[in-house]
């Protein structure tokens, strides 16, 4: 027969164990005092999208060809792209448009990663940066392409595995294109096939 008050004693024992345990065992005290210490970012962490560029010039090296697939696919419609009038060479040596403006409203973005999934040019990827608070409600949340551009070195650093896959895909694509040019002097400008999400 259970004695009245026995449950209370059992509970008090449990809380006492927690109390003293939190001083001895780091496993119990899982809270990380945030600004001083940080949890290392997880490999699959994602916050907001950024635009990848190759080389040193953040604007000339942008991989984006302004195909506007991400703009159309974006569920909350937070991407706004204006295509350039002229063309320039992309990494495969093909002549492509580039974005005259590429804006993302990160107050609307829901971090779904669909833009990164549909991009056939490995041009838009998800960042892990989360300290994006601004003192102003409207400023600092409407990001232009100059603010969105991050180098491919940074991408390799934050998502090593995904970046390796992406580099492999791009190398294969460009060697294919070069082989096509060398073999038949076929007209360039064919868009590469969209890669399906793995």
């Amino acid at each position: 027969m259970s004695l009245l008050g026995g449950g209370i004693l059992k509970g008090m024992f449990e809380t006492a164990r927690n109390f003293f345990g939190s001083y001895v065992s780091a496993q119990r005290l899982t809270t990380v005092p945030y600004p001083e210490e940080r949890i290392p970012a997880k490999a699959n962490a994602r916050q907001f999208p950024f635009l990848v560029y190759d080389g040193d010039d953040s604007q000339a090296g942008l991989r984006c060809v302004a195909c506007q697939i991400c703009e159309k696919e974006c569920p909350p419609k937070c991407i706004s792209i204006i295509k350039s009038r002229d063309k320039r060479q992309d990494y495969k040596g093909q002549s492509q448009f580039y974005p005259a403006t590429f804006d993302i409203d990160i107050s609307v973005c829901m971090s779904c990663q669909i833009c990164a999934e549909v991009c056939p040019f490995e041009a838009i990827k998800m960042d892990v940066e989360y300290e994006l608070s601004t003192p102003d409600r409207f400023g600092g949340l409407w990001l232009h392409k100059a603010q969105l551009a991050r180098s491919s070195r940074y991408y390799r650093q934050i998502h090593p595995q995904a970046a390796a896959d992406s580099d492999g895909f791009m190398a294969a694509e460009s060697s294919k294109a070069r082989a096509r040019v060398g073999a038949s002097a076929a007209p360039v400008g064919l868009a590469p096939q969209p890669r399906h999400a793995e």
Binding site: L4, G11, A16, N18, F19, T31
Partner: protein, 391 residues
């Protein structure tokens, strides 16, 4: 040397009184007794809020407040500044005077009861012959202030909280006082100083505290439970019930009035813990004869801190009662147990010293405890509800 340290505050008061002309002496003496109380216990309140938040944090496996000062020790200062600088909002529908008066009355009442608590040897503000009676009579006025707050705010949550508070405080006042009456019966005095003196002796290392006797232990536990309910602390925090009625009777209070309610709540807790120490834990006496070199006031405050730690521990452990459970627990368990305990104490007093009275006193408490406990565990019978008029 040891005596000097023990009586340091009493001696200091006498030194300060010396230059005062004789016609002013009663007033100055009263002031010199009151001012330290007004300083020490709010200080203890600040310390307790910090300890409570730290302790609850550790019980829940997190750091408590650790941002203000080293290890967060300045957190009470930050809290005080915050409440002082906040806007004082009075609802348009409120009765402004009563709304203002309620926290003041509550704090005054909470301070008044300290007058009869012996904090150390020769350290009691007023040695009333009916000290225990004074303590409970004045303490009961807190209910009035609580209801004033709840009524004057003109808010349904306030009123709900106040009604819960009245129901709870009246229900738990009875076992609180009945368990204190046992000590009064045994010592034959209502004076807190006499009651502490009655617990002065030691048998070997064991002090003659009332908690060491069967009726005293039962009385102490009943007193502690009722004291928790009287000071509206978890698991009896229905009048506040943050998850149900937000903050209960003081929901419409902001700024420093809110802080006054908070202060009064903790002052009530300290006062009732101090009373438990006086009645059952030997007041300011040391727990063993070889510890008597510790100043008496230090003994009292160590015991007080230990009881506060117990309250914090309980708060970190127990979930809140439901209203019907609360009433059932009081009227079906606490009050019968307190009455049985009264009989047990009376028999203890009437019987001769010896093992028989230990046995009788113990059995008289243990049997109803088991029986009443079993009745509380019995589930209500569920049945299919039938309706007279609806389909």
């Amino acid at each position: 040397m040891i005596d000097a340290l023990d009586q340091i505050f009493v001696a200091a008061k006498h030194r300060l009184m010396e230059p005062v002309p004789s016609r002013w002496q009663p007033l100055v003496s009263a002031l010199l007794s009151i001012v330290p109380l007004l300083m020490v216990f709010p200080g203890l309140f600040a310390l307790t809020t910090l300890l409570e938040r730290k302790g609850l944090g550790r019980i829940q496996n997190r750091h408590g407040p650790n941002r203000v000062g080293p290890w967060g020790v300045l957190q009470p200062v930050a809290d005080g500044l915050k409440t002082l600088t906040k806007e004082n909002v009075v609802p348009r529908g409120a009765a402004p005077f009563i709304h203002f008066l309620a926290p003041v009355v509550l704090v005054i009442v909470s301070f008044l009861v300290y007058a009869v608590l012996p904090l150390g040897r020769n350290m009691v503000a007023v040695d009333l012959d009916a000290g225990v009676l004074f303590f409970f009579a004045v303490g009961t006025a807190a209910e009035l202030a609580v209801f004033m707050a709840g009524w004057a705010s003109r808010n349904k949550y306030s009123l709900l909280g106040a009604m819960r508070a009245i129901a709870q405080m009246i229900s738990y006042e009875i076992p609180l006082i009945l368990s204190a009456v046992t000590v009064v019966m045994v010592t034959g005095s209502l004076s807190t100083v006499r009651i502490v003196e009655a617990q002065a002796e030691y048998t070997g290392w064991i002090p003659h505290w009332f908690v060491m006797q069967p009726w005293g232990l039962a009385g102490f536990i009943l007193f502690l439970i009722s004291a928790t309910a009287e000071s509206n602390r978890s698991p009896f925090d229905l009048p506040e019930g943050e998850s149900e009625i937000i903050a209960g009777y003081y929901i419409e209070y902001s700024g420093f009035k809110f802080a006054l309610f908070f202060l009064a709540e903790y002052l009530g807790l300290f006062a009732v813990s101090g009373m438990a120490i006086t009645l059952f834990l030997g007041g300011w006496h040391a727990p063993a004869p070889w510890l008597e070199f510790i100043p008496s006031w230090a003994c009292f405050f160590v015991k007080l801190l230990a009881l506060i730690a117990l309250f914090i521990w309980g708060r970190g452990t127990l979930p809140r009662f439901r209203q019907d459970q609360l009433m059932e627990f009081s009227w079906k368990f606490m009050i019968p147990m307190a009455l049985v305990n009264l009989v047990s104490a009376a028999l203890w007093q009437l019987m001769d010293c010896g093992p028989e009275r230990w046995l009788v006193s113990f059995l008289l408490i243990a049997t109803p405890y088991l029986l009443l406990g079993r009745s509380l565990f019995e589930r209500n019978q569920f049945f299919k509800r039938t309706y007279r008029f609806a389909g």
